[in-house]
Symmetry: C2
Amino acid sequence: MALALTFSASAQSARALPPQINKDNSVTLSCKAPDAKIVQVTGEISSGQATKDMVRDTNGVWTYTTSPLKSEMYYYLIKVDGVSVTDPLNSACIIDGGSHYSYVIVPGGVGDLYTPKHVPHGSVHKVWYTAKDLGYDRRMAIYTPPGYEQSKKKYPVLYLLHGAGGNEESWLTFGRTAQIMDNLLAEGKIKPMIVVMTSGSTKNQAAPGESPDEGLYRQISGSSYDTSYEVQFKDVLEYVEKSFRVIKKKSCRAIAGLSMGGEQAFQTALNYPDTFDYVGIFSGVPRVRTINGNELKVEIYENTLDKLDKEFQNGLKLYYIAVGVDDSLYKNSKWLRETLDSKGYPYVYNETSGGHSWRNWRLYLTDFTQRLFN
Amino acid sequence: MALALTFSASAQSARALPPQINKDNSVTLSCKAPDAKIVQVTGEISSGQATKDMVRDTNGVWTYTTSPLKSEMYYYLIKVDGVSVTDPLNSACIIDGGSHYSYVIVPGGVGDLYTPKHVPHGSVHKVWYTAKDLGYDRRMAIYTPPGYEQSKKKYPVLYLLHGAGGNEESWLTFGRTAQIMDNLLAEGKIKPMIVVMTSGSTKNQAAPGESPDEGLYRQISGSSYDTSYEVQFKDVLEYVEKSFRVIKKKSCRAIAGLSMGGEQAFQTALNYPDTFDYVGIFSGVPRVRTINGNELKVEIYENTLDKLDKEFQNGLKLYYIAVGVDDSLYKNSKWLRETLDSKGYPYVYNETSGGHSWRNWRLYLTDFTQRLFN
């Protein structure tokens, strides 16, 4: 019997399989590479995010089993003799900053929120608007809630901004926004809303493969800390409010962003007064822009503190700041909190463990959206 | 001078780069893999689609330059010590049948039609409909022409079906349908139309990563030659005609499909009489279903020839058959032509070089759509 079991296990191990989530929530990855010298796993999935060696069996199938993992979405790459690549056996693959990653979702906790379920599904639309000042059309992704197409209802809108290196698809791929919205809505935890995901790198027109100018093969990793995002935002707003059934009221508009998008959300809210009742800064870079110690005199970036006074004096329903204690931009969130505290302006603060990562941004989105449009 | 040039070439070759399209339309691929024993290129891009060795320089950067290529979209994989993977330096990556491929588009001919340009862009919508007989919601992709969102116009509709192993995204990724439609429309070669891309594998609800049941990591490669596609098509039709601004007339509906989708289009047109004025069979499997030599007695598949008579007696504007001379399904197209010929039913026949490949299906789409809704 022992012999039979051994034989069976050995025969099984000869097959390389897509990622297996084991009963204890460990994950087994495998790769058929009989001619490779060393095959490794790297990324969020291996403990401490270190590069871990896979183990070769006699048939040239390499495997690695993680320790039991917390429910979460984890991305990773396989390294074949030093070359980092996506897992050839895993259909689940996403792109950010022009690079691809494989991912797995471990169930039983927050991972369930990122997993497609048998619940009503919203739609995702990839649309193009004209950014007049930039002189070209740009692509954005829009989530509409289940039933949108067949109803006459109007909906509130969340404008959701990604970070440097991302594009209009980042919140859908790494951010799992469509699944989060579908699942939260099915649980009755959020109001039905439209989510508009723009591209924050204004040098880009669209994600890789979809853009006329940047070439198909590498994304221009242009960040847009140059006011161009905020200037062209009027075209986003105009397009959305003309093209989708939205409620055109301050009380039905929210804006939030992560990292670079956190500054863009901060600045957009300041420069579009009386437009948003809800503002979210996730691991953001809110700040007064300076040059040689003086405030930068550029229309969008000047008089930041005056605009902030005006924003709070006009009244708004929620100012939300979220950051992880290990985030390299923690100090920017702290500056914003201290600034608001010094003026007695109210805000909600969500300080979490962890750092500058999609794990946190998905959680912030989950928390923030439950506070909107109530 | 010769020395300087050599030095410069050597310094350059130390950088691995995204795919480079050279002036003579050859393509140079590269891969940094100092620790690999052998790095190769495989797929459509290498001559004869053979696996070709890349050449290592002293810095461990491997390169391969193709011969000058005809303008086209080519997919390929890199093999690192025997493991086939997508090109880590190429952002352009698509999925079919659960596997990923890198691709390049060589310009100067048909490749230009597959390339995003500065022309008005249509939108792409990923929506869910309820397949009542199957008992679950399914996802489809819908292209709407430029300006759809801001107009009140109604449009004709092309239902476009993929082959076995594909999903609702295949015509967008391998098929480049959005780019083809945008570019043909900008050239004034087609009428503005809506294109509905369903998922033909009825065991699947959605593409990998989007489906509740099939697991995130591997697509169920279920083909649907079991009437279930044709049965659930009524729900597709109902959803589209309720949710999008379409012209609900036979003269404004077309259906076309490739391979498995070619049979599904053939059968759907037969079983939804007076619904379509345009039918396209690309490398399809039109046939009379038999069992032990007798016609299969299943409602959707029975009385095929009678239904075909009825279809032509009702009148239709275009019956279109396209196939490559090397296609393994050539005989099915031949059977259909002979059947139509024997009855004197008119059709357009597009016989091309090549076989069962996306190269042909993109060309068939390009030709077919120019014949629609005139």
